[in-house]
Amino acid sequence: MELINTVFIAKAIIVGVVFAITLGVAAYSTYFERKIAAFMQDRIGPDRAGPFGILQPLADAVKMFMKEDFIPANSNKWLFIAGPCLSMLTALMTSAVVPFGDTVTIGGATFDLQGIDVNIGILWVFGIVSLGVYGIMIGGWASNNKFALLGAIRAASQNISYELAMGMAIITILMITGSLSTKEIVEVQQNGHWNIFYQPLGFLIFIICAFAECNRTPFDLPECETELIGGYHTEYSSMKLGFYLFAEYINMFISGAVMATLYFGGYDYPGVDFVTQQFGSNVASFVGVGALIGKSLGFVFVFMWVRWTIPRFRYDQLMNLGWTGLIPLAMYNVVVTGFGILVGKPFMVSIAGLVLLIAALFVYDQLLVKKKIA
């Protein structure tokens, strides 16, 4: 009974800390989004609240809470309230299986720095991602507004389409690792054997799908303001709108953490052995936590970078890219990876596969150009 209690308390602390970190990162993502946008457009950005505008998220939160919480007259009241709640819930649930660090030993007891270590870890992530669309769909429908409904339907079709390619990209990771557990996926990648070297194409597919699943530019068609006013959150105001926007930032951070786990070695960093020898394994684990969060923040930056660089896709371009671009690519990647495992040289074969693909695309492009001229 004693042991169960300590494990329970340790897990509760881990969950609480992960929750706090996620919310903190999401809050400050809004600040850095605006700062980065300002930098890219040669502006200053928020600089009034506190030094360098560092208190801007607090000011935004106060503003969000103070505004009138309006519910449209002909909307479905309970579903209207449930929409943002569901968005928030599904955004926060994914982090349960991300291994934030190696084991830590305190007072003779060893703890995993992970919410739950289940042997279906990556399927959990996939399942929660596929549920993420409910918040948007319910909110969009309950608003009783045709633009909100159109946004919701776009979100649903986009998420369903890109889930397929994402699943295929994950399958190649499973083929290399031979396990569904996120912990094992990270352990296989220790000492610099990161999956990005074995799966460059898979990573490319995964990150594109992550952009689509987070509804980020260039795939933010559900909230495309030139066509749909505000998309699914047209009718939302006050903190309900805040929840939707917040859920998007949480999704960005968590998908960054998942990408770091799957492709960038999770909590692995150069010089683990050195740190372990000098300061002990506990310190090494905590540095690993820092490394994982640093990688995730790097991905958050990439999300913002892309948002302020690339214009939005058109809807048919989006569907074409998903169904006729990414899914065949992902299938090709599965075949190449399988061949690599069969031959026993996964690294060489993956690079060869990528080079072959680029060459084939180049030749195809050349042939097409000649046809157009003739």
């Binding site: 479905n76 579903l79 289940v118 042997n119 279906i120 399927l123 959990w124 996939f126 399942g127 596929s130 549920l131 669309v133 409910y134 769909m137 319910i138 429908w141 409904l149 919701a152 339907i153 649903a156 079709s157 998420n159 369903i160 889930e163 569904l180 809807y315 048919d316």
Partner: protein, 171 residues
């Protein structure tokens, strides 16, 4: 907390939400209750130590099929498409048929004692993904591959149905 208490609670929740699927007037509410029912069933899988089935149930049913259901129902104009109430004769016939089926099912369950699994052969790890994979790709390889062919045929059929005809333009 006893594990059987969790089971009773979950079963009650499952039955309640399943009932709400057919009782609620609004089709959107029905779909959402159905999603909730699938979650309850997934929780039952967790109690049975079958985590893989739990995840697949959520991904396939709650994550994909129910989203499509919701998708189609949202496209309807619900105010125009409310089905008119059936006549009382139809209702009577329906309850008689359903009641008879209920009586028959209860009688069958009471007559037969279903033997539980032999305790000495019981393996709590059967539902784990490794063991499930061994069974699927070993003992039941042929049916498994046949099912995959069936799915492939269905997929080709769906693509063929959804194919744009010559001259047709949707957007």
């Amino acid at each position: 907390m006893e594990i059987s208490n969790i089971w009773y609670f979950l079963s009650a929740l499952t039955l309640l939400s399943a009932l709400m699927v057919i009782i609620s007037k609004n089709p959107i509410h029905s779909v959402l209750y159905l999603v909730f029912t699938f979650f309850c069933i997934s929780a039952h899988y967790v109690l049975l130590n079958a985590q893989f089935l739990m995840a697949v149930n959520i991904i396939v049913y709650a994550g994909a099929i129910m989203v499509l259901f919701l998708f189609v129902i949202m496209m309807f104009d619900l105010k125009k498409n409310i089905p008119e109430s059936k006549s009382s004769l139809t209702k009577l016939a329906g309850s008689v048929v359903a009641g008879t089926l209920l009586v028959i099912l209860i009688a069958i369950i009471r007559k037969n004692t279903i033997p539980g699994p032999a305790l000495e052969k019981f393996n709590s790890q059967t539902g784990m993904v490794e063991n499930l994979g061994q069974v699927l790709y070993g003992e039941f390889l042929l049916p498994f591959e046949l099912v995959s062919i069936l799915f492939f045929v269905a997929m080709v059929g769906a693509v063929l149905l959804g194919k744009r005809e010559a001259g047709e333009r949707n957007f």
